[in-house]
């Protein structure tokens, strides 16, 4: 008989939940997202003893109150989806605190198995746990496991199937006793709630009573929607006042207190600590890594190493991919005939996909480093060290990593905001991250500053980076005070012991995040690239002001005659010279034609259409077009200038021809305003895709575009106009 069991895996953060999940499901899992939010949802399937077990990994939580997103997801799943069984992964080395969540699960009345994980750590710390007696006391089987060594997995599966099929002898529903006074109040609620037809279940009504005393917002909301509203809320007011009067504490404190009391009682007979107050290896490591003097240098070194690895070592595979894409474009280009389909495939599709693919090495290396930081436990220390600094910016200690990554590329930086638990911190960090000047903006600065500021180019570029940082601080302060007022999440950060990560575990973490980048962002960037390609390639038929084809033919004819004459007089060196001259003239003509085509394309027209907005800043329509294309990726601004100033698109930021053209087109003041605009304005397409993905909201994405555009405009305006007034123009 093939039976199907659905299980949900819960546990405190860092209890080894993911490891246990991987052990249970092996390679058969898929990563997705919880509807509407960016918390990852993992599902996997396995078979044991003729049963098909379908497992869902719930987010790590300390409790099932309804305060954080993770908690709400975990709880709604258990209550709403009603899995057949819940596995709570309990870290044996911090048993007492881990059991808090366990007591809440017991209250819920679901079928349970407790995976007593990290028993190796507990043993090495001299903690002796009588898990058999604990099982009897709590009415739930405890199965000892060592997740990182895949020990105990079979026993766990056996217990799961046993409990699910009601064959497990220790399993029973216990009622945690909250003490006479509280039990009386709980009973009151139970009585009230059970009079209603919508909550008939005895266990559930007891749970609701408990949650009401815990001031649980979700349950209160649910009650408010029911006809019982008035009665129950009145009773809640009375109960709280009564408890406060006789016990001198509010009901939430009492509940938490009694929970820990119950845990304490259960552990009294089943838990012993052989040695006390020993210094563990982890503490010794920590004495160095968060040392008052060494802490910062070591931290900076790690960040530097991560940066180097991500962007310097990552450069090699990036170049290979870039070269590969170039080769592909050439091969495909040769295979397909001249024409629109070829342009679409080569200019739109391949360069679009290539634009995504070149990011992959960066992203994967970065996520590997972050997974390493998290799995070893260093991430929490980094937050510990940096929190004071970041807090003055209105951010959380963990925001540091995304901010520093922004100097490389904002895309992985924004994806790195996942390390932040509170949504407020995450969105705030995401919003100001694009102000950190990424490496794609550097070529633009090098070109313009190099052309206009000569020997001072270095200082000018440095000033742009500083402006970016200052703006990030400023905007952080402004957003904190306006958009996110009052929503301060508690810092309360657990510092888990240092652990030796397993390569497999770290690779899995890396892959989970990296693969989401490929699947979700690839599409957006691809579509965007094709769109820009289309805007710059249409309309195809242009009413040229001159007949380029005829002029070209005329040139060819003229030179053909001259060549003929020379050939007859045996002057072959001169023929070569003449041919070169002719090709130059034709190229010039082609460039003019291209220029006119560009000017006429939808993109060119758009550039001209926005000129009224740009004129106050001193920019012309070519600047406008460059800024428009820079939306796809900021470094494109350089190649667009290359096209527009007819020095050929192959020219880079160091090209002298392009510099001369820039010098003719811009004053240093306009150039500086332009660079500041490039620094601040709308994040590039890939970054926007990342923002959309990580905030899960078009609203925030739009806001990010809007505020940065306005900010860029104001800054450029102030610089240009202010400079004019000061006579710098």
């Amino acid at each position: 008989m093939a039976k199907k069991i659905t299980i949900a895996i819960v546990g405190n953060p860092n209890s080894g939940k993911t490891t246990i999940f991987n052990n249970i499901t092996g390679a058969h899992q898929k990563v997705g997202n919880w509807p509407g939010v960016t918390v990852e949802k993992k599902e996997g399937i396995t078979t044991y003893d003729g049963c098909t077990i379908q497992a869902v990994d719930l987010p790590g939580t300390y409790s099932l109150t309804a305060y954080s997103l993770e908690e709400i997801i975990a709880r709604n799943y258990i209550i709403g989806e009603k899995p057949d069984l819940v596995v709570d992964v309990i870290d044996a080395s911090t048993l007492e605190r881990n059991l808090y969540l366990a007591t809440q699960l017991i209250d819920l009345g679901v079928k349970l198995v407790f995976a007593l994980n990290m028993v190796d750590v507990a043993r090495s710390r001299g903690l002796i746990i009588d898990h058999e007696n604990l099982s009897l006391l709590m009415g739930v089987p405890f199965v000892p496991t060592v997740g990182s060594k895949n020990q105990g997995t079979k026993d766990l599966l056996k217990a799961i199937v046993g409990v699910a099929e009601d064959r497990e002898s220790v399993s029973r529903h216990i009622h945690i006793n909250y003490g006479l006074e509280l039990e009386e109040e709980i009973e009151q609620f139970q009585g009230l709630i059970r009079t209603s037809a919508s909550f008939p279940d005895e266990h559930h009504s007891r749970w609701m009573g408990i949650k009401l005393l815990e001031n649980d917002e979700e349950v209160i909301k649910e009650i408010e929607k029911s006809p019982l509203k008035k009665k129950v809320l009145d009773q809640l007011g009375k109960s709280k006042a009564h408890l406060n009067e006789i016990l001198g504490e509010d009901s939430e404190t009492l509940m938490a207190d009694r929970r820990y009391g119950f845990i304490h009682g259960a552990l009294k007979e089943t838990f012993r600590q052989a040695q006390r107050n020993r210094r563990y290896l982890s503490d010794q490591v920590d004495m160095v890594l968060t040392n008052r003097l060494l802490g910062f240098p070591i931290f900076i070194f790690f960040i530097w190493a991560m940066f180097q690895l991500t962007f310097s070592v990552g450069q090699y595979p990036m170049d290979w991919i870039d070269a590969g894409v170039g080769l592909l474009a050439r091969v495909v280009g040769d295979l397909m005939g001249e024409g629109l389909p070829r342009n679409l495939v080569v200019g739109g599709l391949i360069s679009g996909v290539g634009g995504v693919a070149v990011f992959l090495p960066n992203i994967f290396i970065l996520f590997f480093c972050i997974a390493l930081f998290e799995d070893t436990g260093y991430m929490a220390r980094a937050a510990f060290i940096m929190d004071k600094v970041m807090h003055t910016l209105g951010l959380h200690g963990k925001s540091f990593i995304p901010m520093i990554m922004g100097f490389g590329c904002n895309v992985p930086a924004i994806m790195a905001t996942r390390v932040l638990e509170s949504r407020r911190d995450r969105i705030l960090t995401i919003l100001i991250n694009p102000l950190i000047s990424c490496s794609a903006r550097l070529p633009v600065y090098v070109l313009i500053a190099g052309a206009l500021f000569g020997a001072y180019a270095g200082n000018v570029i440095f000033s742009l980076y500083v402006i970016g940082i200052l703006l990030a601080i400023l905007m952080g302060q402004i957003f904190k005070r306006t958009l996110f007022r009052g929503e301060i999440a508690p810092f309360v950060l657990e510092l888990p012991p240092y652990r030796m990560p397993t390569l497999k575990g770290t690779l899995i973490h890396m892959w989970e995040r990296g693969s989401i980048f490929i699947r979700k962002m690839g599409g957006v960037i691809l579509v965007g690239s094709i769109l820009v390609w289309a805007l710059s390639s249409f309309p195809q038929t242009v009413d040229y002001s001159r007949d380029y084809d005829m002029e070209k033919r005329k040139i060819q004819e003229r030179y053909a005659i001259q060549k003929e004459e020379l050939m007859q007089s045996w002057q072959s060196e001169k023929v070569q010279l003449l041919t070169r001259e002719m090709n130059l003239k034709i190229a010039e003509l082609e460039a003019l034609r291209k220029d006119e085509f560009q000017e006429n394309s939808f993109l060119g027209r758009l550039g001209k259409a926005i000129v009224p907005f740009l004129r106050p800043l001193g920019f012309d329509w070519k600047g406008g077009v460059a800024l428009l294309t820079g939306f796809v990726a900021k470094e494109i601004v350089v190649s667009t200038f290359g096209i527009l100033y007819q020095v050929g698109e192959k020219e880079g930021e160091e090209s002298e021809g392009l510099r001369t053209a820039i010098r003719n087109a811009m004053t240093p003041l306009i150039g500086y305003a332009f660079m500041v605009f490039v620094l601040v304005y709308t994040p590039c397409l890939a970054t926007l895709a990342a923002i959309r993905r990580e905030t899960g909201s078009w609203g925030w994405t739009g806001f990010s575009v809007g505020y940065s555009l306005i900010l860029a405009w104001i800054l450029a305006f102030v610089i240009y106009r202010g400079g004019m007034i000061l006579g710098l123009g």
Binding site: T253, N277, F384, L493
Partner: protein, 84 residues
């Protein structure tokens, strides 16, 4: 009685939690993480910039910002517990 704010304890000092002031999410989070009356708490160390502060509670390490630690009232234990 020797009641004071948790933030006033120095490195290595020990206290017994009396109560947690403050409201809402912060308070709830502290309670469920074991900051309940009667729990023993030790100051492990201060961050290099003096804030936040790391504590040991119920066998695990947790850090609080200074202004959060101000909301936890403790009874200071006088005995010397350092053994290194």
């Amino acid at each position: 009685m020797n009641i004071r704010k948790l933030s006033e304890l120095k490195t290595g000092e020990k206290g017994i939690i009396e109560r947690v002031t403050g409201v809402g999410r912060f308070r709830q989070r502290l309670m469920e993480m074991g900051f309940v009356p009667g729990a023993e708490i030790v100051v492990e160390k201060f961050a290099p910039l003096r804030n936040p502060i790391e504590y040991v509670l119920k066998g695990y390490h947790v850090s609080l910002r200074h202004d959060e630690a101000e909301k936890v009232m403790v009874r200071k234990l006088e005995e010397q517990t350092e053994d290194h």
